[in-house]
Symmetry: C2
Subunit: 282 residues, 2 copies
Amino acid sequence: MASYTHQTAPTQFVNANGIRFAYRRFGKAGGAPLIFNMHFNGTMDHWDPAVTDGFAKDREVILFDNAGIASSSGEVPTSIEEMAANAVAFIKALGLTQVDVLGFSLGGLVAQEITIAGGALVRRLVLVGTGPRGGEGMATLTPEAQAVFGAKYENPDEVWLGAFFTPSKASQAAGREYLRRFRLRTEDRDPEANEKVAPAQVEALGKWGARQANSYQYLKQIAQPTLVVNGSSDVIIYTINSYILQQNLPDAQLILYPDANHGSQYQYPARFVRHVSAFLSE
Amino acid sequence: MASYTHQTAPTQFVNANGIRFAYRRFGKAGGAPLIFNMHFNGTMDHWDPAVTDGFAKDREVILFDNAGIASSSGEVPTSIEEMAANAVAFIKALGLTQVDVLGFSLGGLVAQEITIAGGALVRRLVLVGTGPRGGEGMATLTPEAQAVFGAKYENPDEVWLGAFFTPSKASQAAGREYLRRFRLRTEDRDPEANEKVAPAQVEALGKWGARQANSYQYLKQIAQPTLVVNGSSDVIIYTINSYILQQNLPDAQLILYPDANHGSQYQYPARFVRHVSAFLSE
């Protein structure tokens, strides 16, 4: 199994919570596997092999489709907490007792709730391009997100150039490289998320993002060492939310990358893997 | 010369701008040396050998006393720009044409002005526990700084426990280790800064820290790749100022460490050296 990579790892299935979860597992087995939680409307195939294979050299990587998405059965719940409950059920169904959890964007919200619900199941947490409950501009899609996701594209993949990268020449060039990399896997790909996914996820995002009194107080429940990563100029979940996470989590380190938008980890995959690997190994 | 360390490097002297500058130079020669710019009321001996010797394994390190401080002659100027002009003269007097510049606190303000004045002289910039012109709470010493620096201590070194470390048990323990380490050098130490240093530095800080229209605009002049580092809870130059630096510099990465105050690099010296070394080698 150690010889599988992002491109070759077969899609496997496991049942939990009445859902048949699709997942792929590869990399160097031994320590706590790193569980990847995907963004809005994404599938396992939207992860960047430069990132996943980068981690897989030193640790086991597990990608999965949460309930109702792509190759997994069931319905997408309309709350982040229910998405997290499904993810915890999936992790436990694999027989795992301790994991590291990485979440990107929507997946970062789910990762926070996995950590709160899972307790000792989670060893360390990595939050990428994400924010806290009731964060700045999180009650609805930001105006920039509405423009990016509402536009039409000749090649639908190009939506990610606007969502994940800045307008600079260097960032757009990195974005084109990312689009190329996430299409490298040609066999056994996931189907795209169906039309029921986005509305349910938007409803969940809205409920979670709504400002409340003491919105950030819940973060005190996350005692695990946490690494927060984002770009300097995230227009999907504003960068200030990464700062707010760091300031309110009990044990968090923050890294912000220059000239980068929501997908900074795909713009600087080698640097991201190095930073996160060092954090996970500390 | 490669065999010198923080403890053994002799104090040397060079003349420039009518000042006799004291400095120490050690580490692996070859690339751009890393020039250290010291904080309020500090001398070469306040640098942490865990940091300086950590860097010296891979690169050349230069510590110096700016004009009017400790073993250097001259007067402390009452502006950051004049301090930077003295530093540039010192660097050029060593015959150096390209350097990396690291500044901590007041030294971070000087480092910014060195970069603006020095142009191509500076390759990369590292700003630690510092802030921008007219930053938040920078027009005067913060209330916390006034309390820490105004108090009496049985052992005067203990002022740094409050200035550089948080009240947590872990941070205070790290602080005690730092106090021990910066006293390890026993021979050829600097004298303490004399009583004329602090008033001049406070005047310079006040002028530089005063809020003006478009206070942060000058940062666009710093094209060099920059790494901004601070603790989560800096009470001397508030942590938000590190975020403001990152957001306004054209090419800056930010790292904030957990449960750390102004002296985060002394609380996590190994992590700090690893992060900065990776940045300088990118």
